[in-house]
Amino acid sequence: MRLAVVDTERCIGCQSCMFACARRQGEGGLSRACIGVRSVGGMERGFIVVVCRACDDPPCAKVCPTDALKPREGGGVRLDITKCIGCGNCRDACLLGCVFWDDEINKPMICIHCGYCAKFCPHGVLRLETRKEGDHA
């Protein structure tokens, strides 16, 4: 299963998904959020949803010096936070900016594709889906 951004044009910028992600981890606020919503460049032009797209061959894992990040079946990565030294290589390696950072603990925040955020999207921007074979979109 992976989280898919179905249609950003339906996004109203409420950021409920960001709060949901942190709440799934038992906390309020945004420090733990692994998803981000920001305007395209002024809200009048709509929004961008930034979240891990579950790469098949994830660049973030390749640059991890301690093997804290490992490719996950179905795409994306798993983080073993006990191995992570907070070097930030993974953050620099992701072109899409999907490796979020918790400054409070100096560790990356990595989407686990659980789909909790999608339950709190009021307009169907996000969806948890099974990736079809050969579908790399």
């Binding site: 109203i12 709440r23 038992g26 906390e27 945004l30 981000g36 809200m43 009048e44 409070e104």
Partner: protein, 591 residues
């Protein structure tokens, strides 16, 4: 309050000596929750009696609440200051990303005092505070451009607020607003002029942090209940479908839509400016404040040709709501949606309170019609009902203030009428221009007794439409109903819950969510705190010279039929007297 909750932190910024400090004020938040409750206490502490609203000593206070960034719809920032428009309590609420950004930056409140020698903007990135030279932004034509430049110069995309002023604030128009995120405003009572007087062009705030909760399982459960109610409840439907503009047709049919400076209360052009018309023909996008799944913000797309070249167009995205439509359409006798959107666009660019602006233009139109002002005063501009081109020209002169007449208009309708006459049709209450309701005595009494002279203080228009239309009640009963609602709204605005969500946040839901945030309060506590905050606001107002005894009532409201008949001055005076006695009976609060 939970041990690690940064809500207790109050950031004090001094613009005169470019300095800041953080104070822990758990005492204030424990007693008054946050928002309006904490802000009025900080105003008592920081605002010297009788101070000049445009002087260095007038503080700007922003406050948020314990539920902000924990639960949905608790995303308003309460601003308090002494109003340069009324010379009394200034309070204005704004959504956008402002409240979540303040909370995520690690503060429950921010106090800004002093006056800078050069134009500045403040960049508050968590605990790092920067005073940035804004000389190159000062005087830019558009507040939207200023916002864009700051956006490009600062980090924090998606988790920041940029509160800024336009030319109106710089030029100290007493009803200048502060705009956040292009489309949300601290609209009323002139916070923009207070920014301008301090040479403060903008305040940008960003941060990202975790907030503690007392029980994470209960947190998720309670959250789910509130979220479900917000997205599924019929009480929220009107806000996300047509938005507040939905009110245009019902209010018109009811006969309570102020038209042509309230010479009438029904507008023949209502169907052309209805929420339905805007949605069908212009709605280009819907937006939400941070942490609000409702998304009531409605943005129209206006496509216009450049006059000098064929097949060359621009498309502007302009926000609309009920109050701007009232103020710039029916009140000005205009039923051209395109004209309205263009005028609204200019008001956004210059940063004015749209409601006061509409009422000021309406007064000027009638004053010219009646011949008490001439072309000499207006510098050749003809104010004509529905003539948007003329209004655009006039607006520029209100900003630039080239003569005494436009200087007067830049200080509001009461000030202008005190010089030129026409006081009977200068439609302001407690010094603030009227909102869009001539629904009956409740609306006007509500605004008169409201602590900030706003229709949102106690929703008098709602009492007119729900109670008075059915039955006769005494002025005393009406006043008591309004007072009770206003006290409850003090509780809501200390929690910074959007008033649109008042149906969802009932006392038991509030107590449950507050418990998760580490505040153990009962519904009785909520009532008591609301009452106390209301009293504290009145204490400030009376200190600054407010009196319910000498309140001015514009004669016009008694001439134009309302849905519940012609209004009776004696009835209104009796209600005001009841409120006066009620306020003077309440004991002074110990501070």
């Amino acid at each position: 309050m939970l041990k690690n909750d940064p809500l207790r932190n109050v950031l004090h910024i001094d613009l005169s000596d470019k300095n800041f400090r953080v104070e822990e004020r758990e005492d204030l938040f424990e007693r008054y929750i946050g928002g309006a409750g904490v802000a009025i206490q900080l105003l008592h502490e920081e605002c010297p009696e009788g101070c000049d609203a445009l002087g260095a000593e007038n503080p700007i206070i922003f406050a948020v609440g314990p539920l902000t960034a924990l639960f949905p719809l608790a995303s308003k920032t309460v601003a308090m200051f002494k109003s340069p428009h009324t010379g009394n309590l200034g309070e204005s609420h704004c959504g956008g990303r402002s409240a979540v950004a303040i909370r995520m930056a690690g503060y429950g409140a921010i106090v800004i005092k002093g006056k800078s020698d050069i134009p500045l903007y403040l960049a508050i990135h968590g605990n790092r505070i920067y005073f940035r030279d804004a000389s190159s932004l000062w005087g830019t034509e558009s507040s939207i451009t200023a916002g864009r430049i700051i956006r490009e110069n600062e980090p924090g995309a998606g988790i920041r607020t940029i509160m800024r002023i336009g030319r109106a604030g710089e030029k100290l128009v007493s009803y200048a607003c502060v705009t956040t995120e292009t489309y949300r405003h601290f609209g009323r009572l002139g916070l923009g002029a207070v920014f301008g007087s301090k040479k403060l062009k903008a305040v940008m705030i960003s941060g990202k942090r975790s907030l503690p909760v007392s029980d994470s399982k209960e947190f998720k459960q309670t959250y789910d209940e509130i979220y479900q109610a917000a997205v599924a409840s019929p009480v929220m439907k009107k806000y996300h479908d047509l938005g507040t503009a939905e009110n245009v047709l019902p209010l018109n049919e009811f006969g309570g839509l102020p038209t042509r400076n309230l010479k009438e209360a029904r507008f023949e052009g209502a169907s052309k400016i209805s929420g339905e018309t805007f949605a069908e023909e212009y709605l280009g996008r819907r937006l939400a404040c941070s942490h609000c799944p409702v998304g009531c913000i409605h943005i129209a797309a206006l496509r216009e040709p450049h006059e000098d070249e064929p097949y060359f167009y621009k498309t502007s995205m302009i926000c609309y709501d009920y109050e701007p439509i009232y103020a710039l359409c029916s009140m000005l006798g205009g039923s051209d949606p395109r004209g309205f959107l263009k005028l609204m666009g200019r008001i956004e660019v210059w940063g004015l309170d749209v409601m006061s602006t509409g009422v000021v233009l309406a007064w000027a139109t009638e004053a010219q019609e009646k011949g008490i002002i001439s072309d000499t005063e207006t510098m050749g501009i003809k104010f004509g009902w529905g003539d948007y081109a003329g209004y655009m020209d006039a607006l520029r002169l209100i900003i630039e203030q080239p003569n005494e007449f436009y200087k007067a208009l830049a200080r509001g309708v009461i000030h202008a009428a005190s010089i030129y006459g026409g006081e009977d049709y200068a439609l302001a209450f407690g010094g603030n221009e009227m909102p869009g309701y001539h629904t009956g005595p409740g609306a006007h009494i509500g605004v008169l007794i409201g602590a900030r002279h706003s229709h949102l203080d106690n929703a008098g228009y709602s009492v007119d439409q729900k109670i008075l239309i059915e039955e006769q009640i005494s002025p005393e009963e009406l006043a008591e109903t309004l007072l009770a609602e206003e006290r409850w709204r003090q509780t809501l605005s200390s929690l910074v819950i959007c008033f649109f969500a008042r149906g969802i946040y009932q006392p038991d839901t509030i107590c449950k969510s507050l418990h998760i945030a580490g505040f153990d309060l009962t519904p009785e506590d909520l009532d008591r705190i609301g009452e106390e905050i209301h009293r504290e606001k009145y204490r400030f107002k009376i200190r600054e010279g407010f009196s319910l005894e000498n309140l001015r009532l514009p004669g016009r409201i008694f001439e134009t039929q309302s849905p519940v008949g012609k209004l009776d001055e004696d009835f209104i005076r009796r209600a005001l007297e009841y409120v006066r006695q009620n306020i003077s009976r309440t004991p002074p609060a110990s501070t």
